[in-house]
Symmetry: C2
Subunit: 343 residues, 2 copies
């Protein structure tokens, strides 16, 4: 009897599960311009498109309160959602926040979370317009939905990359992942000896990348100013390898990236050295950097080539070539989307 | 030092906490027509308003999987959100669903939840456009956000009720609360003796009201057809008493309701009798009926007076009169918002 069949989620994986859930989803409203399958859904809104995205963060899965300050958590919950809006070349306007708390959280603790939420709302110029407050039996849950807006001719999907386009990154990668490694190590030290104080001073940059990432709405403003509409875009939440695979799949193209061109900050590099991890690993497969990975037409290159904040990491070519990395030693290695496993 | 002060959430209550969180929230975008404080936020969207609402359901707080079938849970998660859209006189168009699961849920169990979600999407004509799938350390969490649309001159807030308006209900109340009492009783019987099968046949109606409530988008269609725009509206999620208080506060009015006019179904009444609960209690203070409570101008009364699906339960008057109930014995009792305590 099929009703007694039990398939574990692990057998499918997250992407397999999403594919299974979404395969028979129907779209009936003409106002639904784009449903599941990009960083945000796209809804017709008069002269503009409205983009909508949502993300849920759970204690013990997405964050560990033993090292995540509550203000930072609130800030990050907004930032990671705003990042999805930026990835559509849109700017955020409204946000709703639902929060579930156990009775171990005092009113003052909730205040701290909202201090972070409100600081992020101010920083990204987004209005807090609603939400839900409820109890939880175990652990803190924060679910955020965000709406953004973009002119119809400026919307950017994952699917527009084409042969010859240049692959760009808005900032350095791998820092958030290495920051997490440091935090986990210091937690372990502290747990085995509570007298020990965590040593984080030397790791301020990478720990900051993990605890207080920023959504790159500034890049969206910059691109608008210089008149560039990327041909495709995605935010780096699961690691560059995984995101490049998404762009290749959605656009029906291949891509080559140069190991040498991957922007890894010296401080991330130092931490890799200390942890004996090859720096290409967090760069490609570390997650949560929330930088923007995008492609531009070669024609647009001259407009950005001297921009110190944009890194050119490779190019787009035929689907048959697949996604691959050209190593420092000129070897060609296929890229596999390892994704980012939460701790 | 103030940083060491600890205030328990219970000291403030849910409404007090929301007030504290929201008191310094700023609105900066001119596209934000209405922020926190109604059933949904309102966003300018060209010729129409877009309304946005969100609700999070947690296992052990909002539902008990020992008696809540997974399909019904999925259906209800959509219905309760759609209900908030209907309460703005809008119709739903898009929905995002975030779900967090522990490893005790198989792929087949997740399929069942999505069967319910998709059935509700079909029934309410709403497109599933996005979401998030993640792990949970403990218990199932479903967070839904929904967008709806309404012509700008048809939007209805909680705040438009005025003296002389007639208070209306779209259906009978108290059933969902009594259904929950039956389910909790049968659960207890089952727990003390697993050989016993739950006896639910006699309670099909009220148990259905609890497990599979419907959002009353049909009423919104009806009102549009007969050309009525309510002066105020709210959905009954926390009980009629609490919702009337919201309308009175937002509109700056008082209200009188007649105990005798409160629509309580015979099957709800029978359950009240069996449980020795006065039927006015679940009617006023039971939650989760998801009927619409609204006010109409007296001028519009003739358009609906013969509508068998609308119950006229009282009227609006001056703020000084407060919210009160006229009992069957002609006594006048002030209404206090007891709200609905989740089990």
């Amino acid at each position: 009897m099929s009703e007694n069949k039990r398939t574990e989620v692990d057998q499918l994986g997250e992407f397999g599960l999403i594919e299974r859930i979404t395969k028979d989803v129907e779209i009936n409203h003409k106002s639904t311009v784009k449903g599941i399958g990009d960083d945000a859904a796209v809804i017709d809104c008069g002269d503009d498109y409205m983009v909508v995205s949502t993300d849920m963060l759970l204690e013990g899965i997405h964050f560990d309160l033993s090292f995540m300050p509550l203000q930072h958590l609130g800030y990050k919950a907004i930032a990671v959602n705003v990042s999805d809006i930026a990835a559509m070349n849109a700017l955020p306007e409204q946000v709703t926040v639902s929060i579930a708390i156990t009775n171990r959280f005092s009113v003052e603790a909730i205040d701290m979370i909202y201090q972070g939420i409100k600081a992020a709302c101010k920083n990204y110029n987004v209005d807090l317009v609603g939400g839900d407050t409820t109890s939880s039996r175990s652990g803190l849950v924060i679910s955020v939905s965000v709406t953004g807006r973009v002119a119809k001719d400026k919307i950017v999907y994952r699917s527009g990359a084409k042969k010859g386009d240049i692959l760009c990154l808005s900032g350095d990668i791998g820092g958030a992942y290495m920051g997490l490694q440091v935090l986990l190590r210091e937690k372990k030290v502290y747990e085995s000896n509570p007298e020990m104080q965590p040593k984080l001073d030397d790791y301020e940059y990478i720990v900051g990348r993990q605890l207080r990432p920023e959504a790159r709405t500034d890049v969206i403003h910059d691109l608008r100013e210089i008149g560039i509409v990327p041909t495709s875009m995605i935010d780096v939440s699961d690691g560059v390898a995984s995101e490049i695979m998404h762009i290749c799949k959605a656009s029906g193209v291949g891509a080559a990236i140069y190991e040498q061109k991957l922007p890894v900050d010296q401080r991330t590099f130092d931490a890799c050295h200390e942890f004996k991890i090859p720096s290409v690993t967090p760069g490609l497969n570390g997650g949560e950097d929330y930088e923007l990975l995008f492609t531009i037409d070669q024609e647009d290159f001259k407009k950005v080539e001297k921009n110190p904040n944009i890194y050119f990491i490779g190019y787009i070519d035929e689907a048959e070539s697949g996604a691959r990395m050209v190593t420092v030693g000129d070897q060609i290695v296929p890229i596999s989307a390892q994704g980012f496993k939460h701790f």
